[in-house]
C-alpha cells in the first residue's frame, strides 16, 4: 500500500513548481500553465485525503468543482490574453501596464 505522504510530497512539488512558474515567467500563457499546475496539485491533495480519510466521496466532489472552475478560468484567461495581444501586440506581462491606449 502506498502511503498518503508520498501523494502529499508529489503534490507539494507540483505546487511549488507552479509557484515558480507564476513568479518567474513573463509570458502570459506560461503563467497560465503555472496556475494549472497549482490547481492540479490541489486536486491531487483533495483526492488523496478523500481516499485515506473517513470523509467518503466529498474530496472527489470538491475536485470535480475545481476542474470545472479551472476550465472556466482557462477560457476567460485566454480571451483576456488574446485581447491583450490585439491591443499591445505582445503577451509580455511587463508591458501590460497601461489602462488606456
Amino acid at each position: 500500500m502506498i502511503e498518503l505522504k508520498y501523494y502529499l510530497l508529489i503534490s507539494a512539488f507540483l505546487f511549488s513548481l507552479g509557484v515558480f512558474g507564476v513568479l518567474t515567467r513573463r509570458n502570459a500563457v506560461n503563467v497560465l500553465m503555472g496556475v494549472e499546475l497549482i490547481l492540479n496539485s490541489a486536486n491531487l491533495n483533495l483526492v488523496a485525503f478523500s481516499r485515506y480519510s473517513s470523509s467518503g466521496i466529498d474530496g472527489q466532489m470538491f475536485a470535480v468543482f475545481v476542474i470545472v472552475v479551472a476550465a472556466a478560468e482557462v477560457a476567460v484567461a485566454l480571451a483576456i490574453i488574446l485581447t491583450l495581444y490585439r491591443v499591445l501586440s505582445t503577451v509580455n506581462l511587463d508591458r501590460a501596464d497601461v489602462l488606456k491606449r
Partner: protein, 166 residues
C-alpha cells in the same frame, strides 16, 4: 517492492519531471507538450487513488480541452513566421528561493502531521456515488457551477469578438 510500487514511482517521476520541464523550458511549445505528460501522470495517480471518474474527467477536460486551448493561446499570440516561441525568465533566483521555501514548508507539514487516517478502503466504482451526490446534497453547487460555465462561455466570446461598428 511490488509491481504497484514500481509503477507508482515511475508515474511520480514522469509527473514531476515533466512539470519541471513545463516551468524551466525556454520554448513555449515544449512547455505545453510536457504539460500533457503532467496531466496524464496526475490521471494515473487518480487511478491509484481509486478515483476512476476523476481520472476520466482529467483526461477529457485537461488533456482534451485545456491543453488544446493553451495550444491555441500559444499559436494565436505569436506570428507564425516568427517561430522563435521563447519566453524570458524574470528573477530566477528569488523565484527559486520562494518555491523552495514553499516546498519545504508544505512537505514538512505533510510529514510531521499525525493525520487521522482510516485504513485502505475498498476500491469501488465512484461514478454512481458522484452522480447521486450531484443530484442530492450537492445540487446547489452543481447548478452554480453550471451558471458559472455559461457565464464564462459568454464572457470569453464577448471579450474576443472583433468590435465592428453596427
Amino acid at each position: 517492492m511490488s509491481v504497484t510500487d514500481i509503477v507508482f514511482i515511475l508515474t511520480a517521476i514522469v509527473t514531476v519531471g515533466s512539470a519541471v520541464v513545463v516551468v524551466v523550458s525556454r520554448s513555449l511549445i515544449y512547455s505545453v507538450f510536457s504539460l500533457l505528460f503532467t496531466f496524464f501522470g496526475v490521471a494515473v495517480l487518480y487511478v491509484f487513488l481509486g478515483a476512476d471518474f476523476l481520472a476520466g474527467a482529467q483526461v477529457l477536460i485537461y488533456v482534451g480541452g485545456i491543453l488544446v486551448l493553451l495550444l491555441f493561446g500559444v499559436m494565436l499570440t505569436h506570428r507564425l513566421y516568427n517561430l522563435n516561441l521563447t519566453t524570458e525568465r524574470f528573477q530566477p533566483i528569488a523565484g527559486t528561493l520562494i518555491a523552495a521555501a514553499v516546498f519545504a514548508s508544505i512537505s514538512l507539514a505533510a510529514f510531521k502531521t499525525k493525520w487521522k487516517l482510516v485504513g485502505e478502503k475498498e476500491l469501488e466504482p465512484t461514478t454512481q456515488q458522484i452522480g447521486e451526490a450531484f443530484l442530492s446534497s450537492y445540487l446547489l453547487p452543481f447548478e452554480i457551477a453550471s451558471v458559472l460555465l455559461l457565464v464564462a462561455l459568454i464572457g470569453a466570446a464577448m471579450l474576443v469578438r472583433r468590435r465592428t461598428d453596427v
